[in-house]
């Protein structure tokens, strides 16, 4: 029953907030929600339980739940300062908090749902909820970004729906869209329809996940959204769609069609890497750059799944690490934006000299994302490389490392240029409040711990997830 | 033991005679009577008695260099075999330390030339550095190639290897003699690489480096360069000398060859003009090809079955 709180609380609190419209109250309630959320998830992680027929914690989604809990906890902390400082009206402030809570709720729905239809509904719900958040700044650009976001994602989601229809055509004899039922009766599924269904769901959810060639909304939306929301999008929303893909991937695997699925995932993964690489080297807007980096990392996750074997483990590890890293990166980008008032890389130099702590967070997030130890992306990428050689895919190995090197070059060029160098004269030394550094530091510390020594419970969790796949 | 004693004697005193002979030969070609045969010795003593003029710009390096130069040359002379193939220090790879000790002296000579902050000395220094860079590898390659012929890797062993037994040996010896002569001419800065008598600074090498030295320091440097002549000539002499001769014959032949070399240098300096500076590297690079020739002949003679 404890799961119910996760859904009931935001509804009640947003109703409450809607009537009172007080900035302090908004922040406090959001923070309370995130704290409750975190503690409940911590409880659930160690004692999985079923809420209803439709919502359940199983060994696969528990990882996603954990990531979401930690992420939204950190981002709620960040919100404390982010919203109070910026000049927004009380109405917007309240709506932001409400939608933020709804977003977390919908994400929880995606993660916990046990039914393809429900999963789909929740994913669509996140699209609609985040629409407001992306358009929060209400500029021309943000409007354009949110238009592209909603349109492309809606079409993608519709395609995913076609995929679900195909699935139900294929499993005519089972007549159910519960994961469990499908997994149990996998022998009765028609492979032709299953393949079609996988393709459509992959493209549909892949749109939301940001896999090339259907990634195109992602840079726009990520760059125009407020930084905490970009962090949420990158760290949580993309994962949610990935979970959807994993659910259908398992069906493919049971039906011995995983070669087909893996080839598709590999193609999309490498396309994502290629796209990310070709844009990261020339980009001039650092938030867009981070968005492309998200595309890259989603590509790596897809490649990991596509390789199978240790790659699965690596993918999950990468998922966790990427969420935290990218969240930290985006939140720091928020600090930078706040200090320098520009998203142009060329106009920013000397972050270290302007705001030393932000500078260090920025550069460490960079190192975390390019996979240097002691950050865990190193391990996940290493495992993926290992799997490539173990399965004798030398060509893939070479392409992979070349693209990664280009990406590192592109990211590093911008990031280091911003961090080092002379201080901008017209920008006064800015002292941010404690709250905008805390979450990033928290995330990075967690990452370093994972990178140096994967805790046993996490290791087991990932292994269970891999086994359940 | 007596050889070692003789070696030291030759090393310290023969140089003056050697220079005297050269000067006499040059005087002969010039139709003059020439200076006394030990004039260089008298000059040396005179210089030792004098005081010094030191450049304001110079530092300690300028003052220690002449001593270092002299010491290195003498030390090199102790390593090189002279009378009856005997040298004072003999061990495997001693020719390496020979080359490197000479290089040490050169190192300081260059520094001292640069120390005066005169642009003329700098010119000489840079030329000296470049030309010696070209000859040092050749020196080592030739010696180690000969060493390869007989598995000897000490100076003594290498120089005794080549005997006029067969046509190959004679060929090698003559090539080596040519090579070492060029090395000697370059190292000691004689004609046609450099002319010790001219005083046109722009074209000189060695003389221009020591423009600012005076008094005992100049004496040390001159003495050092005389000894260097002897040291390098004795390598040539030992190359030509046949092995296993009786001691006295060997000694006499050795001295004879040294004197012949002095005469030859005198003749060359009288007959030939100094090369243009641009041609000098080409002249020096000639020995690189000789070295490669020596190496290939030796390789061919061993692995081609000619031995």
């Amino acid at each position: 029953m404890i799961i119910a709180i996760l859904f009931i609380f935001p509804i009640l609190s947003s109703a409450f907030l809607f009537f009172f419209k007080n900035k302090q109250l908004n922040v406090v309630l959001t923070a309370i929600y995130s704290l409750i959320y975190l503690s409940i998830v911590m409880f659930l992680v160690f004692k999985p339980q079923q809420f209803t027929e439709f919502l359940k914690v199983d060994s696969l989604n528990v990882i996603f739940l954990l990531i979401l809990a930690i992420l939204q906890f950190g981002i709620s902390i960040y919100n404390i300062d982010f919203l109070t400082h910026s000049q927004v009206s009380i109405r917007d402030h309240t709506l932001y908090s409400i939608f933020y809570q709804f977003f977390v709720m919908a994400m929880t729905g995606i993660i916990l749902s046990t039914h393809f239809g429900l999963l789909w509904v929740f994913i669509e719900a996140t699209t609609l909820i985040t629409l407001y958040l992306i358009n929060f700044n209400k500029t021309k650009e943000s409007l354009e970004a949110s238009w592209k976001y909603i349109f492309i994602c809606s079409i993608g989601i519709s395609l995913a729906f076609v995929g679900i229809i195909f699935l139900s055509i294929g499993n005519f004899n089972i007549n159910s869209l519960f994961f469990e039922d499908i997994y149990k009766n996998y022998k009765n599924i028609n492979p032709f329809w299953l393949k079609l269904s996988f393709l459509f769901i992959l493209i549909g959810f892949g749109t939301k996940m940001g896999l090339a060639p259907v990634h195109s909304w992602l840079p726009d939306a990520h760059s125009e959204a407020p930084s905490p929301i970009s962090a949420m999008l990158s760290g949580a929303l993309l994962n949610g769609s990935f979970l959807g893909i994993l659910r259908i991937f398992k069906v493919m695997r049971l039906c011995n069609l995983d070669v087909f699925a893996k080839i598709l995932l590999l193609i999309m993964g490498f396309l994502s890497l290629l796209v990310a690489a070709s844009f990261i080297v020339k980009i001039t807007n650092y938030k867009r750059m981070l968005a492309y980096s998200s595309i890259e990392n989603m590509g790596i996750i897809a490649i990991g799944i596509g390789l199978g074997g240790v790659g699965l483990y690596a993918s999950f590890l990468h998922l966790i690490s990427h969420s935290l890293t990218k969240a930290s990166f985006f939140l720091t980008a928020g600090n930078v934006l706040h200090t320098f008032h520009t998203k142009e890389t060329n106009k920013i130099t000397g972050i270290l000299k302007t705001d030393r702590y932000t500078g260090f967070l920025w550069i460490f997030s960079f190192f975390a994302i390019i996979g240097l130890p002691p950050f865990p992306i190193f391990i996940s990428e290493f495992l993926i490389l290992k799997e490539m050689i173990f399965t004798k895919n030398i060509i893939l190995f070479i392409i992979f490392v070349i693209l990664l090197t280009i990406i590192i070059f592109g990211l590093g060029k911008s990031v280091l240029k911003m961090v080092f160098g002379e201080k901008n004269e017209h920008i006064e030394k800015y002292k941010n409040s404690f709250w905008v550094y805390l979450p990033q530091t928290l995330f990075l510390i967690i990452l370093v711990i994972i990178g140096l020594y994967i805790p046993n419970f996490l290791h087991k969790m990932i292994e269970n997830a891999v086994n359940s796949l | 033991m007596i050889e070692k004693f003789l070696n030291i004697l030759i090393l310290f005193f023969f140089p003056f005679l050697f220079i005297g002979i050269i000067n006499r030969v040059k005087a002969f070609w010039g139709g003059r009577k020439g200076q006394p045969i030990f004039q260089s010795f008298f000059d040396f003593v005179k210089l030792l008695k004098k005081g010094q003029v030191i450049s304001k710009n110079s530092s300690l390096i300028f003052q220690i260099t002449p001593t270092i130069y002299l010491v290195t040359v003498i030390l090199a002379g102790l390593i090189v075999p002279m009378v009856n193939y005997q040298n004072i220090f003999s061990f495997d790879g001693d020719f390496l330390i020979f080359a490197y000790i000479l290089a040490f002296g050169r190192f300081f000579m260059i520094l001292s030339a640069m120390d005066t902050s005169s642009s003329f000395s700098g010119m000489g220094a840079s030329r000296e550095a470049t030309y010696s860079a070209l000859i040092e590898p050749v020196f080592l390659v030739i010696l180690s190639s000969i060493g390869f012929l007989s598995d000897q890797i000490s100076f003594k062993g290498i120089l005794t290897t080549l005997q006029q037994n067969n046509i190959i040996s004679v060929l090698l010896i003559s090539l080596c003699v040519v090579a070492f002569s060029i090395i000697m001419i370059t190292e000691c800065k004689r004609v046609p690489v450099d002319d010790p008598n001219t005083h046109l600074e722009l074209t000189m090498i060695h003389e221009v480096m020591i423009l600012d030295n005076s008094g005992p320091d100049l004496g040390f440097i001159l003495y050092g360069s005389y000894i260097k002549l002897i040291v390098l000539s004795s390598i040539i002499a030992n190359l030509i000398l046949p092995a296993n001769l009786a001691f006295w014959i060997a000694l006499c032949l050795f001295l004879l060859i040294l004197i012949l070399i002095a005469v030859a240098i005198g003749c060359i300096e009288s007959i030939f003009a100094r090369l243009r500076l641009i041609r000098v590297p080409q002249f020096i690079l000639l020995i690189t090809s000789i070295a490669i020739l020596v190496l290939s002949i030796i390789q061919f003679s061993i692995f081609g079955g000619l031995k």
Partner: protein
């Protein structure tokens, strides 16, 4: 083994504590902790070298790593001793440097913290026996060195250098990880010991893997064709950092190479010649380019390329000895290489410390703008001179000793009656001596232009000697230079013990060993005679001059009466006779604005020298890569309909494939 880790922990604590204290206090905390820590750390490795017994330490870590085993064997112990000793001098120097910085009110930006991480990662790398941990530490080393290079940089272009460095380290990592993973896929484990069998069984694979490893390590160790990164990176770092990097960190690359050779046990002739060839190439390349550098930091780092080449030559000849199964050669080769590693880290420290002092005081890095410092910084100039002589491998200092051993290995290599190896050895001797004499050109130029003569520019402020903390490490290193130069036989006996571990035959014919010790005794004897006779004659000279008049007068200027600072010989004109000989092979750009008209006002002459590999290979390649990436840049046009079209096309093609394939 515990005491070793306790030592490391103490060092680490010192560096960690440095974050929390103010600038003035933290340097002493670090000094204190690292002194204690290093003493504790160095005990066991020294014991290992003395006793010859290796130490083990196992640690069970979580999933991707598994069993992490650390072992201090002879090779590791050797490197640990070098890192600890020379590294300690580096710490002292850097603390002195920071003291000067504090005077200038410049924050050290957690420099010491990253310094400590780098220091520890290097120590741990050399004793780990697990490939994954090796790679992790390798990357941590790269990361921390990145920070110490870039953090305090005042250079505006420092970010570009930083990224070049990162990319270079990443490429090195890729090669290494690829090779390690292939090995692991054959052996089933990431532990070093399990790799031995793979190497033993598959000759072809061994060759390929060795080349991969070699490239990976060579990028770190700056072997010539793989060195492209450092001319861009080093100028931004200050010399305290560079001395650590150049004298120790790049040796970790050599360590990796040696470790792989230890695992390969019996390298094939092909890879041995490969190593020898690359090393000789990098010798020549390094020294020729070092001559032409305008930046004094780059001068020294190119000279590191040369010295790494010499080390590599030793390794190559040692490997040839292994493949021809000749113990003496491989013993001498490896011993020479190890000896040169030690020597290079000693004299390179001196040189970089000296440069650091100069740059700190004059704030000039261009070689052409220095001069006349010997009158202002007397101690530094003398110590630097000793470093210069040593790096030119001239007796009686330590550089000569190691080169002499390598020469001896080559001379012995000649004795193997094989066409190829004899030619190779003789030519190697030629190349080595050639680069030796080029080094003389280079370092005489460097020293004389920096220290001798008159200043070429007017310095900002009065130049004084640096503080004592910056001089002490130089003195310590000079002591080692002299000690090793004069008494090489003592150190040699330890080094042969280490180099013996490369051979499966662990007993050397006593005869030949005694021979070499005698040989070195001879060298030692000659060196001592050299010093003594120099002192004696100099004394005599001074006695002669005692009552003679000594005039100080201006330099004789051949009658030309103009005096200008610019009339001095410059660095470029010094090397131009040599440059004339090789200028066809070097991408030179000569900038020459001729004086025009009857009354010419301004004219200009300059030469820009570019690195061959950077100019002809790396740059075109990276441009090509960027061009390739640019081919795809039309994707994100901003037109949403196009985005949908991509999806549609992808969907359509996939459907056709599915329906078509069935």
């Amino acid at each position: 083994m515990e005491i070793f880790f306790i030592g490391l922990l103490i060092i680490f604590c010192g560096f960690i504590l440095s974050i929390f204290f103010s600038e003035k206090i933290k340097i002493y905390i670090v000094l204190f902790f690292s002194l204690i820590g290093i003493v504790l750390t160095i005990i066991l490795p020294i014991n290992v070298i003395l006793s010859g017994k290796s130490l083990n330490f196992n640690l069970n870590l979580n999933y991707p790593i598994g069993l992490a085993s650390f072992e201090i064997d002879l090779l590791s112990a050797f490197f640990i001793v070098i890192i600890c000793m020379i590294g300690f001098f580096n710490i002292v120097y850097n603390i002195g440097y920071l003291k000067e910085m504090i005077k200038k009110n410049i924050s050290s930006q957690n420099y010491l913290f990253f310094y400590g991480i780098l220091y520890l990662s290097m120590i741990l790398i050399v004793c780990t026996k697990n490939a994954i941990i090796f790679l992790i530490l390798w990357e941590i080393m790269a990361l921390s060195s990145f920070f110490i290079i870039t953090l305090n940089s005042e250079n505006k272009k420092s970010y570009m250098s930083g990224i070049v460095y990162l990319i270079a380290m990443h490429i090195s990592f890729i090669f290494l990880s690829g090779a390690f993973i292939v090995l692991a896929s054959k052996s089933g484990s990431f532990s070093f010991d399990s790799f031995k069998n793979v190497f033993k069984n598959d000759q072809f694979l061994t060759n390929i893997l060795f080349i991969l490893f070699f490239i990976g390590f060579a990028i770190k160790a700056e072997f010539a064709p793989f060195h492209y990164w450092f001319p861009k990176v080093y100028p931004i770092a200050h010399c305290g950092t560079l001395s650590l990097i150049s004298s120790i960190m790049i040796k970790i690359g050599i360590y990796g190479l040696l470790r792989i050779i230890l695992l390969v046990q019996m390298p094939s002739i092909f890879i041995s010649y490969f190593v020898l060839f690359i090393s000789l190439f990098s010798c020549g390349y390094g020294i020729i380019y070092s001559l032409m550098q305008k930046n004094i930091k780059n001068f020294l780092t190119y000279s590191s390329v040369e010295n790494i080449g010499i080390i590599g030559t030793g390794i190559g000849i040692g490997m040839l000895g292994l493949s021809y199964q000749n113990t003496i050669i491989s013993l001498l080769g490896f011993a020479g290489a190890l000896f040169h590693i030690l020597n290079h880290s000693i004299f390179k420290s001196i040189l970089f410390f000296g440069l650091g002092n100069i740059i700190l005081k004059t704030e000039h890095e261009e070689i052409e703008s220095l001069g006349g410092l010997t009158k202002k910084m007397r101690t530094t100039s003398i110590l630097f001179l000793i470093g210069c002589i040593s790096v030119c491998a001239l007796p009686p200092f330590n550089g000569f000793i190691s080169e002499f051993i390598i020469y001896n290995a080559l001379l012995n290599g000649m004795k193997i009656n094989q066409n190829l190896i004899s030619i190779a050895s003789i030519l190697s001797i030629g190349v080595l001596s050639f680069i030796g004499s080029l080094a003389i050109i280079g370092f005489t130029m460097l020293y004389s232009v920096i220290f001798l003569g008159n200043p070429r520019t007017i310095y900002k402020e009065e130049i004084k000697e640096v503080n004592i903390l910056m001089l002490v490490p130089m003195f310590a290193n000079v002591f080692f230079v002299l000690f090793i130069g004069l008494f090489p036989q003592f150190v040699f006996s330890f080094i042969t013990r280490i180099s013996l571990s490369f051979m499966s035959v662990h007993s050397l014919p006593l005869m030949s060993y005694a021979n070499f010790v005698n040989l070195l005794k001879n060298i030692s004897f000659i060196n001592i005679i050299f010093l003594v006779s120099f002192l004696a004659i100099f004394l005599i000279r001074n006695i002669i001059l005692l009552n003679k008049p000594i005039y100080k007068y201006k330099t004789w200027d051949c009658g030309y009466q103009g005096t200008s600072l610019k009339l001095q010989y410059t660095a470029f004109s010094f090397i131009s006779p040599f440059l004339e000989l090789i200028k066809q092979f070097i991408p030179l750009k000569i900038i020459f604005d001729k004086p025009k008209g009857l009354f010419p006002k301004q004219s200009n002459f300059g030469v820009r020298i570019r690195d061959f590999f950077d100019y002809y290979i790396v740059r075109p390649f990276s441009k090509f890569m960027l061009f390739l990436m640019n081919l795809f840049s039309w994707i994100q046009t901003g037109n949403m309909q196009l985005y949908l079209l991509y999806g549609l096309i992808f969907l359509f093609v996939a459907i056709v494939v599915i329906v078509g394939v069935k």
